[in-house]
């Protein structure tokens, strides 16, 4: 099946009433999650995860993907109207978006953002369609040493580029890997670190950890800081939604640049959506004809980053679909949903479960159209969501998090894990540790161990087997290169700062 035949087959799958409903429900819920502070895309997808178990696997994954890109759309609404980004990828959007809103251009900016997100998401799907199918064909030839290099190397790269110092990501990553070793291990069935607690034999469930780290921790920050509750958005009228001809003209090149950049970022392990929006903002400042206006309310400052973060979010499906390797917390949750549904992620997915592979890709096209329809005419509804008082939605989200955590395994123990993860996430947020490496470490840990031990088994204990294939060598060289570039860049910045401080004395 060629990529285009696959797409048509996928459209047939995605257009069934059940899958269309799943895409709509996902896009709708995702936009609401993105709009509401306190519940980002990761926690939103984690909460919905147990509900997808009762759906058909394709519908479940389509719904999760809908929440993912829906929240990317929704996150920018609060950034523009309240200067409060709904999720980290919208931080940059707030800079120029809020200033445009203060000048009375809120409606037009929201339209530019919605169309830009549509352009970014839709064009990136073409890339996903072509890349994933081609990569999956090659990946069938990968051995355990190659997968070990991809998973462990990818995790290291993710730790390097997640933000802050390398140690800020390495520590949570190691905690995630350690949590992943709890329970019965896959090779010999030996139980580890259970201390006689029966609930731990099956391992630590991903959902309470993710909802705790990303949801409960964020809600705790909102509870302690009631200042957020005072913020109330202005209303946006329908007639204000139409951008001027000049605004359209200025937005188009930024959308295209952002889409290209975002797609490339999406292929790299790490917080692609966030990084790509920052990179796009810098690119706009460097190449835009109106670079001098960026920072004080320029349409390019929102058009580029929004197209970039949606393009990156979509492109991050490539390693998930082609290799079965999750490099983002949301991809980890999608893998977890596949495993619960009995679907084995990996390069064989395209041949063994084409309805899931192509159905998911086609649903992204459909979901993006739905989001455009949901976001522009319904902007008033999303704005009114922001008027729900904090005292109502915080307890509601807390109860939802308990339902999500409990229902995965019907275990009250998991609800305590949720509370523990929430406290850990709160502390990590305060101390500027990264959360994503912990989640990805937890889900990738057992895979890394499996590939590590398989490589040693097959090579009769020869450690050179880890760098014995062209793919493994290439991956390790790339990983070493990225780590070295990161180290020297940080060192150069430190030296420059020290010199500047010395000269000012």
């Amino acid at each position: 099946m060629t990529a285009f035949e696959g797409l048509f087959y996928g459209l047939g799958v995605a257009m069934t009433p059940a899958n269309l409903l799943a895409a709509f429900a996902g896009a709708f819920a995702g936009t609401a999650i993105g709009v509401l502070p306190g519940l980002g895309p990761v926690a939103g997808v984690a909460l919905i995860l147990p509900l997808t178990f009762s759906l058909d696997p394709t519908a479940g994954l389509i719904m999760m993907a809908g929440i993912f890109y829906g929240s990317m759309y929704g996150g920018s609404t609060t950034a523009i109207l309240l200067n409060i980004p709904g999720e980290s990828a919208s931080v940059v959007t707030a800079i120029d978006g809020y200033k445009l809103a203060r000048r009375g251009r809120a409606g037009a900016t929201l339209t530019i953002v919605a169309v830009g997100s549509f352009v970014g998401g839709t064009l990136a799907v073409i890339g996903v369609m072509l890349f994933s199918a081609a990569l999956a064909k090659v990946a069938i030839l990968f051995g355990p040493a190659d997968f070990f290099a991809l998973t462990f190397g990818g995790l290291m790269v993710m730790a390097r580029i997640s933000g802050g110092t390398l140690a800020s990501s390495l520590l949570p990553m190691a905690v995630g890997l350690a949590l992943g070793t709890i329970g019965q291990e896959a090779v010999t069935g030996e139980t580890r670190y259970t201390f006689g607690i029966l609930h731990l034999v099956e391992g630590v469930s991903l959902v309470p950890i993710v909802v705790g780290l990303y949801g409960l921790a964020e809600l705790m920050l909102l509870i302690e800081d009631k200042a957020h509750a005072a913020a109330r958005p202005q209303s946006v009228k329908m007639r204000e939604l139409l951008p001027t001809r000049t605004e359209w003209k200025r937005a188009v090149p930024s959308w295209l640049r952002g889409t290209g950049l975002g797609f490339l970022f999406g292929l790299v392990p790490g917080p692609a959506a966030t990084l790509s929006s920052f990179a796009s903002y810098r690119l706009e400042k460097a190449v835009s004809k109106h670079a001098d206006e960026i920072g004080s309310g320029a349409i390019e400052g929102v058009a580029g980053p929004e197209a970039a973060n949606n393009s990156a979010a979509t492109a991050s499906l490539v390693p998930l679909l082609a290799l079965g390797i999750p490099f983002t917390p949301i991809a980890a949750l999608m893998i977890s949903a596949m495993l619960v549904q009995g679907v084995q992620p990996g390069p064989l997915l395209i041949t063994e479960k084409p309805e899931i592979f192509w159905g998911l890709i086609a649903s992204v096209y459909i979901g993006n159209v739905m989001l455009l329809a949901l976001n522009i005419p319904m902007i008033g509804v999303w704005v009114s969501l922001l008027r729900i008082p904090l005292y109502l939605f915080l307890p509601i989200l807390l109860v939802l998090s308990v339902i999500g955590a409990y229902s995965v395994r019907n275990s009250i123990f998991d609800v305590w894990v949720l509370l523990g993860a929430g406290l850990l996430g709160y502390a990590f947020n305060k101390l500027r540790f990264q959360l994503a490496p912990l989640v990805v470490g937890l889900i990738l840990g057992p895979n890394i161990e499996k590939h590590f031990r398989e490589t040693l088994f097959l090579s009769q204990g020869d450690l050179w087997a880890f760098v014995d294939t062209p793919i493994a060598i290439t991956v390790w060289i790339l990983v070493a290169g990225i780590l070295a570039v990161g180290y020297f860049a940080r060192r150069r910045t430190s030296v420059a700062t020290a010199m500047a401080q010395e000269s000012s004395l």
Binding site: L51, S54, G164, T165, A167, S168, L170, L171, M173, A174, V175, L177, A178, T181, E185, V187, T188, E190, R192, Y193, M220, E224, D225, K226, A227, Y391, L392, L394, P395, I396, L398, V399, L400, V402, I403, Y406, S407, N410, I412, V415, W416, L419, A427, K430, L431, R432, F433, G445, I448, E449, F452, R453, L456, F457, S459, Q460, G461, L463, S494, T497
Partner: protein, 162 residues
Amino acid sequence: MSSHTCSVATGRRIAAVAGLVLSAAYTFYAWRELDFGRWHRPGAAIFPIAVGIILAVASIAILLERRNTSNEVHGATFTLPAGADLRRLVFVLGAFAIYFVAMEYIGHLIASALFLFVAMAILSDKSKLRLALYAVVIAGSFELFFVRFLQVQMPYGLTRLF
């Protein structure tokens, strides 16, 4: 908003010490309790020991972070709630923990309604009657949507009797 200002660098060092203690306990357990195997047949202890070493290295790296570098990259300070803000946070979390415990005995529906009421009362000064009404309506809606419609299994507790 009342708050305490704390040093990020100091907080990170405390976290690093906790990381070192955790890595020592974690590695010690693997060393003592799990099978090493051989290089050609690696046992269950090999990977946890490697993870323990990574955790120790990351913790030591944080302990060795220069205060200036840390301030530059992570910011110099963070705030912890104090006074009324701290009380609000502790009370909501306390109610949340009691909610888990109560859920098994009195069932999810009643426990949710009670938790919602208490949490809303802590977070707002609206009339208690109005908040109680909200709590009952929201808990009932959750029960209908999740438990009845989506067939999500939640603890029944006392409600099993009815």
